[in-house]
Symmetry: D3
Subunit: 251 residues, 6 copies
C-alpha cells in the first residue's frame, strides 16, 4: 500500500510539482531567442490556478528509495491507528521506516521517549529545539512537520516561523536563548562544545538532566534531518496549513 515503485511515470509525476506551478506562470519557454527581447509580464499569467503544485505527490511518494513496506506488526499497527485517530493521518516518516519492523520500532521508541516522556523541558521546548536544529540543517521534512508542532503547541503561528527562519530574530528569554544557542553550536561545531557551554546552561537554570535532554533532542534531529535528506523524505501535505492563525488574531 505504501509501496513506492520507481517506474518512469511516477518519477515524472513526482518531479512535476513546483515545475508545473512555475512554468504555468512564466509562460512558454520554447523559443529562447539569441537575444531575448524583454517580455511583458501579463497579469493573467500570474493569476492562473495550478492544480497540484510544488508537492502534489508528497503523500503518495514518500522517499526517493524504492523499498517495499513490510507487514505492520501488531504494536505498530495499533500505533498507526492511534496516529490516524489523534492526528488524522500517519506521519510520512513512520511510513518511510515501515519497510522493516525492527527499524520502525526502534525509531518510535526513541522518538517517543525523547519528545513525549517526562522531562525538565516542556514538549514545546523540545519542539523548538527540533526546529532550530532542522533550520541549521535545512531539512525540509522536519521543518514542515515540527514547525507545525511549534505552531500548535504554542498557539503562536509566528513563533513557528521564527524557529524555521532564524531563532535569533525571536524575542526569547535567557533560558530559551541559552538552550537554542547550545543546540545550534552542537549542530554546527560539536567538536567545540566544552565545559563552558554546559556552565552557561547551568547558569540559565538548567539541571544536568536538562542538559542531557537538550543534547539528546538536538542530537536526535541531527540524525533525523540526515535520514530525511538522504532519502528525500516528503512531509504530509496537511502540515502546511495547520495552526496558521492564533486565537486572538483578527484575521
Amino acid at each position: 500500500m505504501e509501496k513506492r515503485t520507481r517506474n518512469p511515470r511516477k518519477a515524472a509525476q513526482r518531479r512535476s510539482g513546483a515545475a508545473k506551478a512555475l512554468r504555468a506562470r512564466s509562460g512558454p519557454r520554447t523559443t529562447a531567442p539569441a537575444r531575448a527581447s524583454v517580455r511583458k509580464d501579463s497579469a493573467a499569467r500570474e493569476s492562473r490556478v495550478v492544480p497540484g503544485g510544488a508537492a502534489a505527490t508528497d503523500d503518495t511518494v514518500i522517499t526517493a528509495l524504492d523499498l517495499d513496506a513490510a507487514p505492520l506488526g501488531p504494536a505498530m499497527a495499533a500505533y498507526f491507528d492511534k496516529c490516524r485517530e489523534k492526528l488524522g493521518f500517519v506521519p510520512n516518516v513512520l511510513k518511510a521506516y515501515a519497510f522493516d519492523m525492527a527499524k520502525l520500532e526502534a525509531f518510535v521508541a526513541m522518538y517517543n521517549d525523547l519528545m513525549l516522556a517526562p522531562s525538565g523541558l516542556s514538549k514545546l521546548e523540545r519542539e523548538i529545539i527540533a526546529v532550530a536544529v532542522s533550520s541549521r540543517n535545512r531539512c525540509y521534512y522536519c521543518l514542515v512537520a515540527h514547525g507545525a508542532a511549534v505552531r500548535q503547541l504554542s498557539g503562536d503561528p509566528v513563533l513557528g516561523e521564527l524557529m524555521v527562519m532564524n531563532y535569533r530574530a525571536a524575542k526569547l528569554t535567557r533560558r530559551h536563548r541559552a538552550m537554542l544557542d547550545f543546540a545550534e553550536k552542537l549542530t554546527a561545531e560539536p567538536w567545540q562544545v566544552e565545559e563552558a557551554d554546559r556552565e552557561t546552561l547551568r547558569k540559565a537554570g538548567f539541571s544536568d538532566r536538562d542538559i542531557w535532554d537538550i543534547a539528546a533532542v538536538a542530537a536526535f534531529f541531527n540524525m533525523s534531518n540526515r535520514i530525511a535528506s538522504a532519502t528525500d523524505m516528503r512531509p504530509n501535505r496537511l502540515y502546511h496549513a495547520q495552526a496558521r492563525t492564533s486565537a486572538e488574531e483578527p484575521l
Copy 2:
C-alpha cells in the same frame, strides 16, 4: 506617527513576545534545584492561550534603531496610500526607510524597477529568487514578506515553504534550478562566479538580459537582507497568514 522611541517600557514590551509564549508553557522556573527532579509536562500548561506571542509588537516597533519618521513628500504619501489600498497596509520596510525621503525614494525606485518592471523573468520568478537568497542569509523580514508573495503569486502555499526552507527540495524545471543555483552561488561565494556559470544560464534558455535581471534581483536582496538584519527589521504581522491554502486544497 511611525516614530520609534527607545524608552524602557517599549523595549521590555518588544522583547516579551516569544519569551511570554514559551514561558507560559514551560511553567515557573523560579526554583532551579541543585539536582533537577524530572517534572511532569502538564497537558494544561501546553494548551494555555498566549495573548500576543512571539511578534506581538512587530507592527508598532519596526526596527531597533531610534529614528524619527520624516514628513512624507507628496510622491511617497501617494505611494503609501496606494499600498494601503492594494495590500491593506504599508510594508514595514517602507516605514523603516521613512526617516529620510531621499533614501526612501531611492529604495522604492530601485525596488519597483527590479521587481515589477517588464523583464524576461516573471514576477513570481523574481520573488522565488528573493526568497532563496533570503533563506541563505536567514533574513527574517524578507523571508516573511517575500515568502507570502511567492504563496500569493503562485497560488501554491507549499512552494513558498520550499523556497524558505531549502529550494533544493523543490521539484523544479531545469530553468528554475539553474536560476536559483546561480543566485545561491552569487550569494554565498560571489568571487567564484565565472563565465561557466553564465554559460549554464544561457544553456538553460536565459538571455544575457535575463542574466542581468537574475543577478540584479539576487544582489538587491543581498543588500536588503543586510539592512533588515542590521536594524532588526520586523515584518508586518499580516503576512504570516496570507495565502496559506491553495484553491484546490481540501482543508
Copy 3:
C-alpha cells in the same frame, strides 16, 4: 557505582591527566620571566615516566554530567553481563545512558539493529562509516571506540588510523570510496544531498536498501557524536591498545 559526583576533588583529578603528563615534561613554570631566556631541553625531563597520563580517570568519570545511575532492569543487566563476557568491559556509552532505563534500552535497540543486524553492508563497512563520520565531527569517544572496532574487524591496524585521520588517504575500492563520500557529504552538508548522490551509490553497486543503511549509520553517528561531545563522554582506556598489530607485521 557508576555515579559521578561533582565535588571539587574529583573535578581536579579529572582535569589532571594530560596536564600532568605535559607539565612533568616541560619542567617547572613558576617563574615566567619578563624576557624568557631560552632554556635547555634536558633529555632527562623528556624521559620521566608519568603514572596516569592524559586520560587517567576515563574509566571512573564517564561524562561531565552529574547523573545517578538507575538500577539496571533485567534485560539491561543481562546485556551488560554479555558485554563483560565478550569484550571484557562495559562500553562507557552504555554507562552514560544508564541513568534512565527507557533511554538506555532505546539506544541499545537502535544501535544493535543498525550495526549488527543483517544488511547488504558488512559489519566492517558499517564501522568504517562510523569512524569517517566521527572524524568529520572530531568526536573523541567514537573515534577511540570505533577506531578499535575497525582495527579488530579488519585485522589491519593501519586502516583504523586512516579512517580516523583522513579516509581520502586510504586506497579504497570505488564501492567504499562512494560509500564514504556519501557519508561525509551527508554529515557536512545534508541539505546538498540529492538524487545525483543516490545515483552515484547505485552505480557503485549499492541497492536502495543499502543506501538506507549507509544513510542510517551515518545519521546515527551524527547523533552519537553529538551526545558524546555535549557530555564530554570518555572512552574506556582499554580501546587504545586494542588490535594495534596485524598478524603478519614483524613488530
Copy 4:
C-alpha cells in the same frame, strides 16, 4: 558606442591580457616532456616588455554580458559629462548599467545619496567600509575603484592597500575598528547580527542614524560586489595608478 559584442575575435582579445603577460615570461611550452628536465630561468625572459598586459581591454569590454547601450536620457548625459569633467572618465559601472535608463538612474540616485549626501560618517569612512566589504567578497571591480578613492581621500596610499588586503592589519581607532568589524560581520554572517553588535557601535560613539549609514553602505556594496562578479565587470584602467604616492613620501 559602449556596445559590447560577443564575436569570437573580441572574446579572444579579452582573454589575452594576463595570459600574454605570463606566457611571454614563461617561454614556449610546446613540448611538455614525459619527464620534465629542469629548465633554466633566463634573465632575458623575465625582462621582456609586454604591450597590453593583464587587463588590456578593460576599458573597451566592460562586462561579460552582451547588452546594447541605450540612448542616454538628458539627466544621465549631463551626469556622464560631469564625470568626464571631474574624474577624466566615466566609471565603467555606469556604462554597464547604461543599457536601461531606469536602472541607471535608480543606481545613481542610491549611490550618490549613500556615498555623498550629508552623514555622520565622512566620505572617507564610507569609502573604507566599501573597500573592506569588497575585500571580504573579493570583488575586483570595487576593490580597484574604491581602493583608489581611499587613497585619494586619505592622501595615504598605504591605507588603501590595507583596506584591500586585511583591515585588521591597519592601526585603527576604536571608532573605525568597530565600524569595520560591524560591516565585516554584516557581510559574512548577517543572520548573526544582533543588539549587542549595535550596542558596540553606540559605545564607540555612533548614533542610531550613523548605524543606519554604516549598515546601508555595507549592504549597498554587498549588492554592487555581486552585480560586478555576476557580470565580470572590469574597472577603468586609470584607477590603478591613481594616488599611489603620498605628499610627504620621499619617492
Copy 5:
C-alpha cells in the same frame, strides 16, 4: 634505490591496500542485483586475515610523484645513517625530498632547528603543536609520524590519540591550552590573529621568544602538511605500532 616508477603494475599494487582489506571482508560483489536482498554477515568473513592491508606499499612507494632520487651528498648520507641508527629507519619525508640535495638540506636544517634546538618550549610541546596543526589539516603523513613522537616523548599513548582526534578533549593546563588554541587559530584563520591573541599567550606565561617558537612550529607544519597532501606522501609503517602502551598500563 628510492626511485619511484609510475608503471601500471606498481600503481595497481599501491591502490590495493585498503581495497583488498575491505573487499575481503564484504565478500564478492560481482552481482549487484536490481533490488539487493539482505545478505547475512558471516562471522567467518569478518575474521579472515589480510596479508598486507591498507598501506601495504607505504614503505616502497613514498609519494605520487615520479622523481628520481639524487645521489646523497656526504652530509645527508651521514644524516640518513644517523636516522637508521637512532630510529631504525629513514623517515619517508626525507626520502621524498631526496630528489634534490639543496631542497633536502634546507628542509633538514629548518626542521632540526625548529624541533630540536634549545627553546622555551620542550620537545614534547613542539610535537603536540605539530600534531594539533596536522589534525586541523587532516594530514595523514604528519599525524602518523608525529602522533608516534607524542606517544614516545610523553610515555602516554592516550595523549597522542587526543592530539590526533581533538585536542579540546584533552585535560590540559592553561599553558598548553593557550598554546594549542593559538596554533589552531593561526592554522585556520591566520588573518584573524591579533595582539589580543599574543597577549593571551603572554598571560599564560610565554615570553615573546616562546611566541615566535609556537608560531614557527605551527607555521612549519602548515607547510609540511601541504607538501605531504600535495604529493600523497606515505608514512613509514613502523610508526603505527610505536609506543602504544604506557609503562603502568596493565595490558
Copy 6:
C-alpha cells in the same frame, strides 16, 4: 639597531598610523550626542594632508614581538649588503628573523632555493603563486612584498593587483589557471587534494617535478603567511609605490 622595545611611547606611535589619517578626516569626535545630528562633510576636512599615515612606523617597528637582533654572522652580513645593493633596502622579513642566526640562515636557504633556483616554473610564476596563496590567507606583509615582485617581474601593474584581489578575475592561460587553482585548493583544503588534482596539472603540461615546485611554493607561503600574521610583521614602505606604471601606459 633593529631592536624593538615595548615601551608605551612606541606602542602608541605604532598604533597611530591609520588612526591619525582617518581621525584627521572625520573631525573631532569628542561629543557623541545622544541623538547624532547629521553633520556636514566639509571638503576641507577631506583634503588635509596627513604626515605619516597608516603605516608610518612600518620600517622602524617590524613585528609585535620584542626580540633583540643578534649580531649578523659573516654570510648573513654579506647577504644583507647584497639586498641593500640590489633592492635598496633589507626586506623586513629578514630583519624579523635576525634575532637568531640559525633561523635566519635556514629561512634564507629555503627561500632562495624555492624562489630563485632553476625550475620548470619561471620566477614570475612562482611569485604569482606566492601572491594568490597570500591573498587566500589575507597576509598583509606577503601581499605587499610579493605583489610588488609580480608587478616588477611582469612589467604589468594590473597583474599584481589581480593576484592580490582575486586571481579568478584575471584572464589566464589554462596552464596558469590550473597552477593557481591547485595552489588555492592546497591552501584552503589540503585534505581534499588527490590524484585527480595532480592529473589536472599534468594535463596542463606540468611535469611531476613542476608539481613538486608548485606545491612547495604554495606550501612555503602557507608557512610565511602564518609567521607574518602571528607576529604582525610590517612590510617595508618602499614596496607600495614600486612598479605601479607599465612602460606603455600613457599616465
